[in-house]
């Protein structure tokens, strides 16, 4: 009896494990990125700010000599500036990328809508799915692609 329950639990679990495989992947898309470039740059900037805060605190508590403090501060500020520049560049790149993406999307949209018009047979009215010279339904010669 107990053994049967154990087997049933195992089978139930197996069904639960296999279940996600039966659903379509497309809804979720590919696995998302764990870290984005911009996010990473921002985080690194935060680390440098934190280092600066620490440095300031250690200087105030008398742990660090002024000479060290000034040299380290300059270093950290330089590092922060470098990261800010990199962030700006990445943001610019992202904007450019977005423009390119929009352009591509627009072109794809136009291309998608064209075949229906371009490859429609004038004789029988059949909408050929691919660019062809002769109609797949009645065999009549189609108009030159690009011309309606």
């Amino acid at each position: 009896m107990l053994q049967t329950i154990a087997v049933l639990i195992a089978v139930g679990m197996a069904v639960f494990i296999v279940f996600p495989l039966l659903s379509a992947d497309t809804a979720a898309g590919p696995l998302p990125l764990d870290v984005t470039l911009l996010g990473d740059l921002k985080r690194r900037r935060l680390v440098v700010y934190d280092n600066l805060k620490d440095l300031e605190f250690e200087f105030q508590s008398g742990k660090i000599a002024r000479e060290d403090y000034e040299a380290l501060r300059t270093n950290y500020l330089g590092e922060a500036a470098g990261l800010m520049a990199a962030t700006q560049e990445a943001e610019q790149l992202k904007q450019d990328d977005a423009v390119v993406e929009r352009e591509i999307a627009a072109r794809r949209a136009t291309r998608k809508s064209q075949p229906k018009i371009e490859y429609k047979c004038q004789a029988c009215g059949y909408e050929n799915p691919l660019p062809v010279k002769f109609c797949g339904e009645c065999g009549a010669r189609l108009a030159t692609p690009g011309k309606k």
Binding site: I9, F19, G39, R43, A65, N75
Partner: protein, 674 residues
């Protein structure tokens, strides 16, 4: 119940093997549905191993002696909490227990990351379940705890139910033994999580410090549990084995210390990667080493290839572990080499006198210590394999190597935090080190005047004072700066200072704990012992104590027979305490053991062992130790534990970072992944 356990084991094995493959495929194809299925298999692994553990515990608690494991490791009159502990008393049970802890860690990792680190997770699951597959295979095919008890008859083997079991090894019938193995195992097993994330980061080429951030707590928790387990083991050895010490450089003790030392190195060096983007290769290598040593420790403990007071098993599992260790090394090191290009440092070491170099020295010394202990532990095995002669490497070798290195580490414990990141000028060094050196120098002079002549003991105490002043000075200066800048009173300033950066100040508390441990270790240089044959009324003297044997009592209970010696003790001629060591004889296992009487104080422990009765004269064989400062070892352990817990509390700085990460995750989820 045996069948229930077997169903649990075989289903767990199937789920683990499936998750190993599905994780890798899901990661390779970047498929959320295959990944989800692999993650569910990790849940299934947890559920089925839990079922197997429940079946075995049920049989132990209900005295089901038709199971061979239960008959071997438990008996009817065993106290209930020792019965619970019988789960990990033997080879088969403890491997099942190991596997169960792995399944808990895996389930927790899957749960915690169900919405984040989606690219790492398939591979993380794959590595975790790869380890799970190995242990399930081992438990099912090689060390199966669900075997029926059988006797050989003329018609073949026949199952039978024993009227009572052989009982738990008497040495294990001690309260800290109930929690020592789980702690140690949680420590060993937990190191698989940072390893899994490191491997996933290598495979996916995400080698920034994301994996370091994810695994920080997943490393600190096992490190803390391993440390606590080691100390509880020391406490057990001290209170049960009756040789007057808590650490004997036994191979199994060493095996637990090795991953702890490697983990300590890793916990320090990750800070350099987080702060400066350096030591990326080193950190991956340290994670690999820590995990390797954890499995190696389990192997040493369970295989019985080394002779040890703790090796309760002699078995045939050695070759399986050797193969698994080889696979781990081959897989991880190959992956590391393939990804070297992605592991370049973002910065260079600016100066040899800096926090980074302090961490580096700490790492080198820790690694040198790991190497020395590893070599010393394995040398007898290697020499036997090559020359067929057994060479014993004992405490003198380990002390010779470990004490100087330990002292250097102690020095860095105090000096390291006072060095600034990047570079520290002579002026800063003078400013920070003058006061600690003056105080430590004064304390050293007083100790010398008081008669401390042992060089190592003197250095330990001198450095302990130095480090304590350094660390307490950090709290003091920090709190005073806050009092000045934020107009807070001392208590509030100290609290805010600590909570703003719990990781740093928790770390400092850990360092104070380490100082206390070292003070306890230094006490070893001043220990005294004596022994004697005594009858009622006899006196035994040691240092300023006098022990009079008032009475020898014999008695009996269902679990064991005992002889108890009752001592009245005076110190400096005044009544001090009464102590009752025992010699016990456990009925079920037919084994004798000593029950040590200890009177602990902050300055020293009085430790009395009744080794037995002399067969010729029937006098009590008594051994007495005076162990100075041992209490500080346990106090140091507790402080270290508390410091680690403090470091685990999210600090304000971390919360700011977490908010930012959350925002970033939302961006990612919104499909704005760049």
């Amino acid at each position: 119940m045996n069948q229930v356990g077997s169903v649990g084991l075989i289903a767990a094995l199937a789920f683990a093997a499936y998750a190993l493959v599905a994780g890798a495929v899901g990661g390779y194809l970047r498929s959320p549905r295959i990944t989800r299925s692999a993650e569910r298999a990790a849940w299934g692994f947890f559920l089925m191993i839990t079922l197997a553990v429940a079946a075995l515990e049920y049989m132990i608690l209900t005295n089901d002696f038709h199971n061979a494991y239960v008959a071997e490791h438990s008996n009817r009159d065993l106290l209930t909490y020792y019965k619970v502990a019988a789960l990990w008393a033997g080879q088969e049970g403890s491997l099942l227990f190991w596997t169960w802890l792995l399944s808990i860690y895996s389930a927790l990792v899957v749960w915690q990351n169900r919405r984040k680190n989606r690219q790492l997770m398939p591979y993380v699951v794959s590595v975790l379940m790869g380890t799970g597959t190995f242990f399930s295979l081992l438990v099912f095919f090689v060390a199966n705890p669900f075997q029926e008890l059988a006797v050989a008859t003329s018609t073949g083997t026949q199952a039978f139910t024993a009227p009572d079991g052989n009982g738990l090894n008497p040495l294990l019938q001690y309260h800290s033994m109930v929690i020592h193995p789980p702690m140690l195992y949680l420590g060993y097993v937990g190191m698989v999580v940072p390893f899994a994330f490191a491997m996933a980061a290598l495979i996916t080429r995400q080698l920034g410090d994301n994996w370091i951030r994810i695994t920080r707590r997943w490393t600190m928790v096992p490190w803390m549990l391993l440390g606590t387990g080691i100390l509880l083991g020391g406490n057990w050895a001290y209170a049960v084995l009756g040789w007057g010490g808590y650490w004997g450089w036994d191979p199994v003790e060493n095996a637990s210390l090795l991953p702890w030392l490697a983990g300590t190195a890793f916990l320090h060096s990750v800070m350099i990667q987080e702060k400066r983007g350096m030591l990326k290769v080193w950190n991956v290598a340290l994670v690999i080493l820590t995990f390797f040593l954890s499995i190696f420790g389990t192997f040493l403990t369970r295989s019985g290839i080394v002779s040890s007071v703790h090796a309760f098993a002699q078995s045939n599992i050695g070759p399986f572990f050797a193969v698994f260790l080889a696979i781990i090394l081959f897989f991880s090191v190959t992956l590391l080499f393939l990804r070297l290009d992605h592991l370049k440092s973002e910065n260079k070491l600016d100066s040899m006198v800096s926090r980074e170099s302090g961490f580096l020295f700490n790492n080198w010394i820790l690694l040198a210590l790991v190497f020395a202990i590893f070599w010393g532990t394995l040398f007898p095995v290697i020499s036997k394999a090559i020359e067929n002669t057994t060479v014993t490497v004992g405490a003198p070798f380990f002390n010779k190597v470990a004490i100087p290195m330990g002292l250097l580490l102690l020095l860095l414990t105090g000096a390291g935090p006072l060095l600034a990141w990047r570079k520290t000028s002579f002026q800063s060094i003078r400013r920070n080190f003058t006061a600690p050196l003056i105080v430590a120098g004064a304390a050293g002079a007083v100790m010398f005047a008081e008669g401390v002549r042992n060089l190592y003991a003197w250095m330990t105490l001198f450095l302990s004072v130095f480090v304590a002043v350094c660390i307490l000075g950090e709290f003091w200066k920090g709190a005073h700066t806050r009092m000045r800048t934020a107009s807070e009173n001392f208590a509030v300033a100290l609290y805010n200072l600590t909570m703003r950066n719990t990781r740093r100040y928790g770390g400092y508390v850990v360092h104070i704990g380490i100082v206390l441990l070292f003070i306890g270790f230094a006490g070893q240089a001043f220990k005294a012992d004596t022994k004697g044959l005594m009858q009622e009324g006899d006196l035994l003297r040691i240092n300023n104590y006098e022990l009079r044997l008032s009475e020898l009592v014999s008695g009996d209970n269902p679990n064991y027979e005992y002889t108890r010696a009752i001592f009245s003790v005076t110190k400096n001629g005044e009544a001090f305490t009464s102590m009752h060591p025992e010699k016990r004889f456990y009925k079920a296992s037919q084994q004798p053991t000593s029950y040590v009487a200890i009177h602990p104080t902050l300055s020293e422990d009085l430790y009395v062992v009744l080794a037995g009765l002399d067969p010729g004269t029937n006098k009590a064989i008594v051994q007495v130790f005076v162990n100075p400062l041992v209490m500080w070892v346990w106090i140091g352990g507790v402080v270290t534990l508390l410091g680690t817990l403090l470091a685990l509390v999210p600090s304000r700085v971390e919360r700011e970072m977490a908010e930012m990460r959350l925002a970033q995750e939302m961006i990612v989820q919104a499909g704005d992944a760049f």
